[in-house]
């Protein structure tokens, strides 16, 4: 009997999350600026998808739209299917029950997610009772179990404590416990460790990964750091200026990144030890929303751009067609670039 490898188990079930043609517009003065362009992705139970991109690429807006949290003046179009229902059409009570129920979200700064004047236990109990009919003593027992589940030593003491008494890492654990309170199918983690120290960061991401393995949670990890998510994601979707430029399995992406932007991101980070003294630079800077021409969004910064790139936006091409690891890359020239691997470190005078 063949040994079941971990990746195969998560592909047969219908996806928890299926995003189709998701576009997001920001109202600015009299006009609508399109900041996210026709995103497509799906996420199965027990799987981790990382959306990676720099500031302003639209990754956080995408995350907010998945649970109907877009602020006033920002609207989303397309379809966000969460367990078969289109979140973009939910309103009022249905939306409230979804958030913290089937889909939960955690943020970068745990202090703002917690009420500073309420004891931690009371906040978890409140979450539980907002979604389920449970008695106080049941809720208390479950809250303590949740604190233990996120590996908090001495849950009783933390239950009775206030947020300011905890370190940043411990607070983020409490926030994760609250997110898990109603056994969601989807956990969205928006830069969950950016404010934390490196050693604590590894612990928190490791914890989320453990919980995924234990409970079959689908995890959507939003990050600016490609290297960081490498250890914890099954698939990575790289965003640039509101577009998905490359979406592939972690193994395939790091074995041979195809989009010039992804290749630039990989080469721009110090790799330690015997890496080159000069890092490969991506010239220029991230464009402002709405400041793009008709062609490829990365064209103005791309060392391989041609006239075609400036005139016509690339459509996503399927790559890695073998099995379920299928990916996509949106670049006119990825096939020719693929032959020229690896990207040389360019010298800038």
């Amino acid at each position: 009997m063949p040994i079941e490898l971990e990746p195969s188990r998560r592909c047969d079930a219908p996806p928890i999350l299926a995003v189709e043609g998701l576009s997001i517009w920001i109202r600015d003065g009299g006009r609508d600026i399109r900041t996210v362009h026709a995103l497509e992705f799906s996420l199965a139970a027990g799987e981790t998808l990382a959306i990676v991109g720099e500031s302003g690429c639209g990754k956080s807006l995408t995350a907010f739209s998945l649970i109907g949290l877009l602020p006033q003046g920002i609207r989303a179009e397309g379809r966000v299917g969460l367990e078969g229902r289109n979140v973009l059409r939910l309103r009022g009570e249905a939306l409230r029950r979804l958030r913290g129920g089937r889909a939960a979200m955690i943020f970068q700064e745990s202090m703002t997610a917690l009420n500073p004047v309420l004891r931690i236990g009371a906040q978890i109990v409140e979450t539980l009772r907002a979604h389920e009919r449970v008695t106080r003593s049941e809720a208390r027992a479950r809250a303590l179990a949740l604190l233990a589940q996120v590996r908090i030593p001495d849950p009783e003491r933390v239950f009775a404590g206030y947020p300011h008494q905890l370190s940043g890492g411990m607070r983020q654990r409490v926030v994760i416990a609250m997110a898990l309170a109603c056994s969601p199918a989807l956990l969205i983690a928006d830069e969950p460790t950016t404010a934390l120290d490196a050693t604590v960061q590894a612990e928190i991401l490791g914890l989320i990964d453990d919980l995924r393995r234990e409970t079959g949670l689908a995890v959507l990890l939003i990050s600016h750091d490609l290297e960081l998510v490498r250890r914890y994601a099954d698939r990575i979707l790289v965003m640039y200026a509101g577009h998905a430029v490359e979406s592939r399995s972690v193994e395939a992406l790091f074995a041979a990144p195809l989009h010039p932007y992804t290749r630039g991101l990989v080469a721009a980070r110090p790799s330690g030890g015997s890496g080159p003294r000069r890092l490969a630079e991506i010239p220029g800077q991230v464009p402002a929303p709405g400041g793009l021409g008709p062609g490829c969004s990365f064209g103005p910064r791309c060392p391989h751009a041609t006239g075609l790139c400036h005139d016509l936006p690339p459509v996503p091409d399927p790559v890695d067609r073998t099995g379920k690891a299928a990916g996509r890359v949106a670049c006119h020239h990825w096939k020719t670039l693929h032959v020229q691997q690896p990207e040389p470190a360019r010298s800038v005078p």
């Binding site: 120290d197 490196a198 590894a202 250890r231 721009a268 003294r277 991506i282 800077q285 800038v348």
Partner: protein, 332 residues
């Protein structure tokens, strides 16, 4: 061999007077819980043209140390020698004369620049303060410095808000360079920047150093960035330096348990996804003051898996364990 690593710059001649020598430096802050010793007995030398990397997590004292070196905070003990002259014993006026040798680049240079001043004026002010060049040749000097950091001369006639984060960091570096310093303290110079822009700034600093032989004290929480930039790396924990080594030694044989934890936690330098359950948290739940001066023993004892009884009572001192490699740990 443009890609070869020629990092050691001028060889640190033991007999020469170091550019910067910090000896047994301590800095105390008063808090509601009593005195907190943010920097506790740090000794550090930087030779001219060398990059000394300082890595550590928030609250370890790395920024306090750099501010003490700049003279922005008074140390409670120890000395800071620049070219053999003790800055801690100098008058304010004498320090001001020396200040141009020592400049600083901050994490957020948007905040370090006056938003109502044109960029050119901010740079010219630094020249004027230190009496460099005549008033007549200042504009051309400013333009040249902007060129050195990869900005067009027209940048001088714009306000800081017109620039992106990466460009503002270039302006901050230009302002530091203007007064021809011998040492620049870089405190998290790329932490606020997008990954694609970080490489531009790191390359710029490396280029400037190659061209001008400026020494850098490069401070960051990001191990991979510090490791990349430095000739020599020191690791700080709880106000103390726990390990210091030349870059290659540091990379090949990180020794202090905390250094090894940093390596294991670094996304680009550490292990891959393990597939096994992660261990329970190493930082306790009630550790707000974990890095403050908390009694005897090793500062890392509560998080160290190899801690012995001796670690609880006796503070480990830096010991030489290999060529140029010092570690403060009872276990190794």
């Amino acid at each position: 061999m443009s890609n070869s690593r020629n990092r050691l710059g001028p060889s640190p001649d033991a007999a020469a007077v170091p550019l910067l020598a910090v000896t047994d430096l301590a800095v105390d802050f008063a808090s509601t819980q009593g005195t907190v010793r943010a920097v506790d007995g740090v000794t550090l030398t930087i030779h001219s043209g060398e990059t000394h990397g300082l890595v550590g997590e928030s609250g370890c004292g790395k920024s306090t140390l750099s501010r003490a070196i700049m003279g922005l905070i008074a140390p409670s003990r120890g000395s800071i020698h620049l070219n053999g002259v003790d800055l801690t014993r100098m008058s304010r006026r004498a320090i001001r004369r020396e200040r141009h040798r020592l400049q600083m680049v901050f994490q957020d240079n948007g905040a370090a620049l006056d938003p109502r001043w044109l960029v050119g004026r901010s740079i010219a002010e630094a020249l004027q303060t230190h009496g460099i060049g005549s008033a007549a040749d200042r504009p051309s000097r400013v333009a040249r410095i902007l060129g050195d950091v990869g900005l067009p001369p027209e940048a001088a006639a714009r306000y800081p808000r017109a620039f992106s984060g990466g460009q503002r960091q270039r302006i901050g570096i230009a302002r530091a360079l203007a007064v021809e310093p011998e040492l620049i303290l870089c405190d998290e110079p790329v932490s606020a920047l997008d990954v694609s822009v970080q490489a531009q700034i790191l390359n710029l600093l490396a280029d400037l150093q190659d061209r001008r032989g400026i020494a850098l004290l490069f401070i960051s929480h990001d191990l991979s960035v510090v490791e990349h930039m430095s000739d020599r790396v020191s690791v700080m924990y709880g106000g103390r330096i726990v390990e210091t080594a030349e870059r290659r030694t540091f990379w090949l044989s990180p020794t202090h348990p905390y250094t090894r934890l940093l390596f294991a936690s670094s996304p680009s330098l550490g292990r891959q996804r393990s597939g096994t359950a992660s261990p329970p948290p190493a930082d306790g739940a009630w550790d707000l003051h974990r890095t403050s001066a908390s009694g005897d023993g090793c500062r890392f004892k509560a998080r160290c898996r190899q801690a012995m009884p001796r670690c609880l009572t006796e503070t480990p001192q830096l010991r030489l364990i290999g060529p140029g490699h010092h570690v403060a740990c009872h276990v190794v």
